[in-house]
Symmetry: C2
Subunit: 421 residues, 2 copies
């Protein structure tokens, strides 16, 4: 893989105008274009900084605009053409700055009157970006080392109810899960430091359980404590988790934002479990916003170690195809010298049943496979829930049908009877 | 105005299911709901933290879903009902934390299978939030004091081309604009610290011009330097602007994110000009994302002093009605004890022609009125451009028709001939 010398971004556009003219408007708006000619601008000066159309391919035509507010040429019944467009910018327009990259590839474009649809599909960055940002400090190898799990997915779960549990109830649930053989537990994204479950008390209560369990069994369960908050709060919370022997912290990306994540990544001494809640508002309209393939690159370079990708047959609206594309993206190197590979986190309505499909699509076990009901609602209890997931992944990696593998394994057999997906 | 004791958020939803059942799913997902019953949860514990449906009003029915991926009840041709829903949460679920507020009111909701559309319309916060965050340090009064402008809008413009100009060209343009009588100039959001126009050199060159002009005329033009970047960069850049006598800094909200903005607001000694580039991907789909009325509250409380609201007859897709609703929101108090009023910034294709409509809709001159071509492309030059805007606002506030006021004022008369909008 060669990194490009210019910043490149791929878009899906929809326009009633000549697609090339519309793409030129995008390129102009996001670089040296001006609305009216301005004293002092020269062709040389504009050329030096201009965004370029690298490619443009019309893919289909539709009768109705996807989004309201777009213009169309006068004097004809409009049809709307969809096209894939690649733009590029000189790195020197902004330098290797993630916040300014966002303003450049995803700034004022989405409101331009030329477009009845505009979505950022992917981007490729010059290697100077790899030198400016840390990328994941732990990634797959570091996470596996801290969790003590090799050769299979890290089996995880979430503290539920999201809110309602205090520190003692959270610790009691953690004890149950430790005894059930879990590898990984995460706080819910709704629970950081609410007065009903203060962060410090929760961490102390939970780490007491995890450390006792580790002393007894040699296995230290990884707990992703949700430290989402203001910067000073995140720093203090991180230090507490580290000081008590914790091995992971969690942050909500759309809550802390890019500068928050860059700072957290700089000071963290623990893997960052990156939660994408709110992702729907960035992506759910097919002709607007961000694809996950583009979006996850920003956060990986900033320093995320684990990135949520939803799961097959999930309880949300996302298709399986989209989920797998997201997970593959997380596992694809960004730069030769700094691949920034992160662990994809599968969750949402997951049970033993999704293991074969997930493995078949990805061809790797380098992932966190998180189930809530898939563990806690197993008829024979959480230990059987965890066992059923491990067994399902053994079967998947050995390419043995689940039903066959379940014949001698009651935990898996019960899971296959119990869960719908 | 009484602040509520619970966090309240208003949504527009679209669903093929019973709207109340769908709203219950929202409330459950964002508080103490669980996908399957979990050991340890009790009715008391769930009730303590549960989100509540405060109101629900069905407003219309449509045949087609606005967004793909939604489910519908079996055995019937689905119709989709739209409703306004207000949910509320106990403050104690999260405490007065802006990042955790975002995860609560705008987290995993947008992807729920129950919904073919979901948009956050507004929210109201308990007064504990006003105690936890600074709000604007300068706001309208502080900005007017630093700019030296009272009783009329602050007339502004933008450095264009966005990229292409180096420090010397930017300073030369600044000189032209100072001599033309401008009040306010902003960097483009694409220009922060690119190698072709380094921040430090640009600030030094521009402040030399502004300070000389101030020494000569007594008027210090406010320049919003775009310091968008990593936290340490923003801090250093802010200090340079302050040390050189600058009076404003600018940041791209969607680039720095919430933690970046909260930190900037804590250390800034200058007003923060908050740029909303990327806003389109959050809002342009009418049945998804954020309304500006909800979104701007986050940033005002975090500490923005000026918020972009687009402009009447703009070159983007937004309707005039939406622009005015945004500007009114910026001027509406958030809390009795901390109103967090910010200066709305009108821009995009603005000229003398939009002054009467803007004043009629808002009833105030507490705004920044920014024009690019409306100043630079005036046939008689930038001084005539600035004069035409001042004259247009004099006419607007005196409720004299522009054409009449222009009779004895050639700058305004030429502007009315020149600009389309």
């Amino acid at each position: 893989m060669m990194s490009p010398t210019r910043i490149e971004a791929d878009y899906l556009i929809e326009t009633a105008f000549d697609p090339r003219k519309a793409a030129e408007a995008m390129a102009g708006e996001q670089s040296s274009g001006t609305f009216v000619p301005i004293p002092g601008e020269t062709p040389e000066l504009k050329e030096r900084s201009a965004a370029r159309i690298e490619s443009l391919e019309v893919i289909e035509e539709v009768d109705e605009p996807s989004l309201p507010g777009a213009g169309h040429p006068r004097g004809q019944g409009p049809t709307y053409r969809r096209a894939r467009v690649t733009l590029s910018w000189p790195l020197d327009n902004i330098g290797p700055s993630l916040p300014n990259l966002v303003a450049t590839v995803a700034g004022n474009l989405f409101e331009l009157k030329q477009f009845s649809g505009l979505r950022l599909l992917d981007m490729r960055l010059p290697s100077a970006f790899a030198q400016s940002y840390l990328g994941p400090k732990f990634g797959i190898a570091g996470t596996r080392r801290l969790a003590g799990i090799e050769g299979r997915p890290i089996i995880g779960t979430i503290v539920k109810p999201s809110v309602g549990f205090g520190p003692d109830e959270t610790a009691a649930l953690t004890r149950t899960l430790c005894e059930a053989g879990i590898d990984f537990i995460k706080d819910d994204e709704l629970q950081s430091d609410g007065p009903l479950c203060p962060f410090d008390e929760r961490v102390r209560a939970v780490m007491r359980v995890i450390n006792e369990h580790a002393d007894r069994t040699g296995k230290k369960v990884m707990f992703a404590f949700n430290l989402t908050g203001d910067l000073d709060q995140m720093r203090r919370r991180h230090d507490l988790v580290r000081d008590l022997g914790g091995t992971c912290v969690m942050a909500s990306l759309n809550s802390v934002g890019l500068v928050g994540m860059i700072e957290l990544a700089r000071f963290t001494e623990l893997p960052i479990h990156a939660h994408r809640n709110g992702w729907g508002y960035l992506s759910r309209c097919p002709m607007l916003g961000w694809s996950y393939v583009a979006w996850q690159k920003i956060w990986r370079l900033a320093g995320a170690d684990h990135m949520h990708v939803n799961g097959l047959s999930n309880k949300f609206c996302e298709s399986d195809e989209s989920v797998i594309a997201s997970a593959r993206a997380c596992l694809t190197p960004m730069f030769d010298e700094k691949p920034c590979i992160v662990m994809p986190v599968f969750s949402s309505g997951q049970s033993a049943k999704q293991a074969p499909g997930t493995f078949a699509a990805l061809g790797t076990t380098d992932l966190i496979f998180a189930a809530g009901g898939g563990i806690m609602a197993h008829p024979d209890g959480p230990a059987a829930g965890v066992a059923s997931l491990c067994e399902a992944w053994e079967a998947a990696t050995a390419r043995i049908p689940l039903a066959e593998y379940a014949k001698e394994r009651p935990a898996l057999a019960k899971a296959l009877e119990t869960y719908a997906a």
